[in-house]
């Protein structure tokens, strides 16, 4: 019987009422009396030396208030990088500057050169066109291999285009080399993980405001983590202390990682508002979003999988070039390293693993976290090379995976790449997948397809991810320049309703529904009696925001801890009211009872007593009922699953249709199954998008060829089937109070290899021996592979 209340209930999303009726309050809906508008003049060339920026004529244009150039930001900090990776020789990564407005050079198409602030957006844009910029164009370096082999330098001051050469675990390198050299069989695969443009539905917006009366700045921005932006921008860019800086991220229309980072436009609007003493607003156009939002993925990898004569994995060795783009985005260095290399064990007992990543600067938009962030890159190469190995050795692709699974009784399991998986049951999720995907019926479906002249293929794979990011002491050792705890304040109001202030941020995840489910369940009150506040540094405790499938596992845990403190204090108040000992108070279903008696007081009576403390133990207990907790996770969480995709391929055109997609996930305990379904649906749609459609393509001059929806193919409703998702296999997380693991990224991590495995299978069944096709598997690429 499904629950209809609290943890485990499919409560409908309360936030949808305002979103669906046009009552959302997004950043672009915020208009401050007297605000001015900013427009950025952006580089049209990928690489060049700025010889002159003449703003004289533009400054005289109607409505222009002021034009800013790089020179205005010389005394201002650059955009900081939040993670320092150490290379395989023990040296820190190269960390070139990232100015708010370009200084001396432009390094990618879209790099901001100047910013016009004017009375209207149109006047700002008109004036920007009148700015005379002289750029001495330099050869651009786009291809990563060329970049590391002596191509033009993106940053002259660091002497090469290599940010770091990372080895993980470096001490294992020789042993891994030896194991591969001596192995019974080695399967090798070279592949590309395609570059993606994040494409949140809401483009980025920033509104800077300044109150001269109290010298306070406010930034309204499209962010996944307003406290992080306040810290980075205040401390490192503008030198404004936290108590004079408020950052608000109101309703945000999707992020997928791209709104984690601190962007130049945020700092610009905040600074310009301070200097001009009036609010300054910037709203990105979709075209701007393509060339300024940090892109995702963009790896080129060679992976080798060594197996023994029984088909057991003996060793894995990988070598990857990871594109960082022109500048270090906020968390860019961590993605191809700690969020990628540590996942190379996957769901398997591979004893020896060595991962090498060379991260490279190119004249392209910066690359950073995008839904999954490093983990899709790891999963894709691993699950593709396993599939290839199965084909080479004639082993069924499910059987080879099962043969190598970490067994249920092996948990906790320490991988050779530094993680300790707390729980999991990979055979159980695979069992479940075989049922829900009706794998037994595949051959019959393949025959039906064949009768229509189509090739049907089945792709199966597993994934694991490290979520609930992250233990602060651990990530500190790994180079993070931030803690990754989360916070919550639970404020019980005098009449018993509850306001929760969380450091997590909802931009599509449904926190306004699910967080109250947890608190209401714990307190035995109606969900409608609980509200959450998020997204405003002025009324939430310092928290690190939402990404890495961390909100419920870390933010939810903080909220549970704070609620536990509330219950503990409320028991003391109840004990006083009933003249009993606090140890004898039992709390359930919203009532405090004295154990073994029929004495009880209701939740509401205790809350009222806390705020109207006429009859209250004032000598021992403070009045009021409000508690804050900070929760720092002891470990990552490890959601895992098994996915199956069936495709039909038209051999005449190369077009691939996804006929069915089944996902069996283990997310541990689940707060709201319907919202989890939605997260998996969205993730799979994004993964299918990466596998079949999406591709950010630069030409050799550094122009983005897929710079609009005319050429960048987003997945649409008719590109995906109705999904079959199941999360009934649950091995609860052992180290957080809710036993939850997180579900936001799973679909995007697990689905691309399933699609590609299915296409390779379809081709094989049609007699085409194609070992691999790089994503996206567009009709033309598939056709070319068939006709190579």
């Amino acid at each position: 019987m499904p629950k209809d209340f609290g943890i485990g209930a499919s409560t409908k999303r309360r936030e949808d009422a305002r979103f669906l009726t046009g009552n959302g309050q997004y950043t672009d809906d915020i208009n401050i009396h007297g605000q001015a508008y900013a427009h950025f003049l952006r580089s049209q060339v990928a690489h060049g030396k700025i010889s002159a920026v003449n703003v004289e004529a533009a400054a005289a244009m109607p409505g222009v208030i002021r034009i800013f150039t790089g020179a205005d930001f010389e005394g201002v900090g650059g955009l900081p990088c939040g993670w320092q990776v150490t290379d395989r020789h023990g040296e820190p990564m190269k960390e070139p500057g990232h100015p708010v407005l370009a200084q001396g050079k432009v390094r990618h198409v879209g790099d901001p050169i100047a910013a016009v602030v004017a009375e209207s957006a149109a006047e700002a844009r008109d004036a920007a066109e009148a700015i005379e910029v002289e750029i001495e164009e330099l050869p651009a370096v786009i291809d990563m291999k060329a970049a590391v082999e002596g191509g033009p330098l993106v940053h002259d001051d660091i002497g090469s285009n290599l940010c770091y050469d990372w080895g993980f675990i470096e001490d294992n390198r020789d042993e891994v080399d030896a194991a591969i050299r001596d192995a019974h069989h080695v399967t090798t695969l070279e592949l590309t993980n395609n570059r993606l443009v994040p494409n949140a539905m809401e483009p980025r917006v920033a509104v800077g405001d300044y109150n001269a009366a109290n010298d306070e700045s406010t930034l309204y921005t499209t962010s996944q983590n307003p406290h992080v932006i306040r810290l980075l921008m205040g401390a490192f860019v503008l030198a404004v202390p936290e108590h004079k800086l408020r950052v608000v991220a109101p309703d945000v229309g999707g992020g997928f990682g791209s709104k984690i980072f601190h962007y130049a436009e945020e700092a610009f609007c905040t600074l310009a508002a301070r200097q001009l003493r009036r609010a300054v607003k910037w709203t990105a156009s979709r075209s701007e979003a393509f060339v300024t939002d940090a892109h995702g993925r963009d790896h080129v990898t060679r992976i080798e999988l060594a197996l023994d004569d029984g088909g057991h994995f003996v060793a894995i060795r990988t070598s990857t070039l990871a594109n960082l783009g022109a500048y270090l985005s906020t968390f860019a260095p961590s993605i191809p390293t700690w969020l990628h290399g540590t996942l190379m064990a996957g769901n398997y007992r591979t004893p020896l693993i060595y991962v090498n990543v060379r991260a490279v600067f190119t004249n392209t938009v910066p690359v950073d976290a995008y839904r999954g962030a490093g983990r899709p890159e790891a999963t894709f190469q691993l699950e593709r090379v396993i599939d290839k190995a199965a084909r080479e050795l004639g082993i069924d692709p499910i059987e080879i995976r099962r043969r190598n699974f970490i067994a249920a009784e092996d948990f906790p399991y320490a991988t050779p790449v530094a993680l300790e998986y707390d729980t999991g049951n990979y055979h159980a999720t695979m069992d479940r997948l075989e049922e829900i995907a009706d794998l037994q019926g595949f051959e019959a479906r393949a025959e039906t397809s064949q009768a229509k002249g189509k090739l049907r293929g089945l792709g199966v794979n597993c994934y694991i991810e490290a979520c609930g990011i992250a233990p602060s002491n651990l990530v500190g050792q790994l180079g993070a320049r931030a803690g990754l705890y989360e916070s919550a304040t639970v404020r019980v109001n005098a009449t018993g309703s509850v306001t929760v202030m969380t450091g997590s941020h909802s931009h599509g995840q449904g926190h306004e529904t699910t967080f109250p489910q947890v608190v209401a369940d714990m307190l035995g009150i109606e969900e409608g009696q609980v509200n959450i506040l998020h997204g405003d540094t002025a009324n939430t405790p310092m928290g690190m925001g939402t990404y890495g499938s961390r909100s419920i596992a870390v933010g939810g845990a903080a909220m549970v801890r704070a609620t536990e403190k509330i219950i503990s204090k409320a028991k003391k108040i109840a004990a006083h009211l009933m003249e009993a000992s606090a140890e004898d108070i039992e709390f359930s279903e919203g009532a405090f009872k004295v154990a073994g008696t029929d004495k009880q007081v209701a939740w509401g009576d205790v809350c009222l007593a806390a705020y109207v403390p006429h009859n209250y133990p004032l000598a021992e207990l403070e009045p009021g009922l409000e508690e804050t907790a900070f929760y720092d996770p002891a470990n990552f969480t490890f959601p895992a699953g098994a996915y199956a995709c069936e495709v039909e391929l038209d051999p005449e055109t190369g077009k691939v249709d996804v006929c069915s997609f089944a996902a069996a996930d283990d997310f541990g305990n689940i707060i709201n199954p319907m919202i989890v379904d939605g997260q998996v649906h969205g993730g799979i749609a994004q993964g299918v998008g990466q596998a079949l459609l999406e591709n950010a393509v630069y030409d050799s001059d550094g122009q983005l060829l897929s710079g609009s929806y005319m050429d960048y193919a987003m997945p649409r409703a008719d590109d995906v089937p109705s999904f079959t998702v199941d999360h009934s296999c649950q091995t609860p997380c052992t180290h957080n109070p809710l036993g939850v693991k997180g579900c936001g990224e799973a679909g995007a991590i697990g689905s691309p290899p399933a699609v590609v495995n299915a296409v390779v299978d379809a081709l094989s069944r049609g007699g085409y021996e194609v070992a691999h096709i790089d994503m996206p598997l567009s009709p033309s690429r598939v056709w070319q592979a068939m006709n190579a």
Binding site: N695, P779, S780
Partner: protein, 261 residues
Amino acid sequence: MYDFEFERPATVADAVAALRTEGAQVLAGGQTIIPTMKNRLAQPVKLVSVGGIADMSGVSVGDGCLTVGAATCHADVAAAAAGAYPALASLAANIGDPAVRNRGTIGGSIANDDPASCYPAAVLASGADIITDRRRLAADDFFLGMFETALEEGELILEVSFPIPDAASYQKFEQPASRFALVGAFVARSGGLVRVAITGASDSGVFRWREAEAALSDDFSRSSLNGLALSPEGMISDIHGTPEYRAHLAGVLTARAVEAA
């Protein structure tokens, strides 16, 4: 968008007069010109909307022809041509999305002559006539190349007259992002004569595949295309397909159109 003048005349005569201003441009459905202007990639001095000219909208059938007013939107063609010329109706019903189909017009489409648009294939394969304020142009003389037609400065398309073929089909293979035709093939058979027009494929815009026409005029069956292939030379090369792929698709789609006609 830069400033521009705007006129919305009620008659063809007034529209033609308004178009005499240098730098004036016709605004029909605005599905190309408006986004182009919003991106500041076009700067017409004046837009002359034909949306208020009743005579330019509507679909009529007579004398074996289906005539479409130049300002008729795709959705209206899809509905009104379904009985008389289903292949044309189906083409119109699959252009863009509902918003595009309810704004975009046939006149706007063929005047713009985007090499990946659908209508030029129908107009050329049907052997339609394009009637303007000053003359009647055969389709074979109208399309001159990519974004290039025989229209003169200020010339206004009034209607397009399609001889209704005995059998026809349009097969579109969508470019994955824009869903314009990566390649589209329109096959029309009238008596023993077959015309085949290919859109989306060539650097020179829509064109007739004469060899296929000859083969199909002899024997209107898929198998008569066996051994025929278009040369990749002059085909479009972009991130969505090579010239070889486009040439190949043109063959596949033509064959499918023959089957479906």
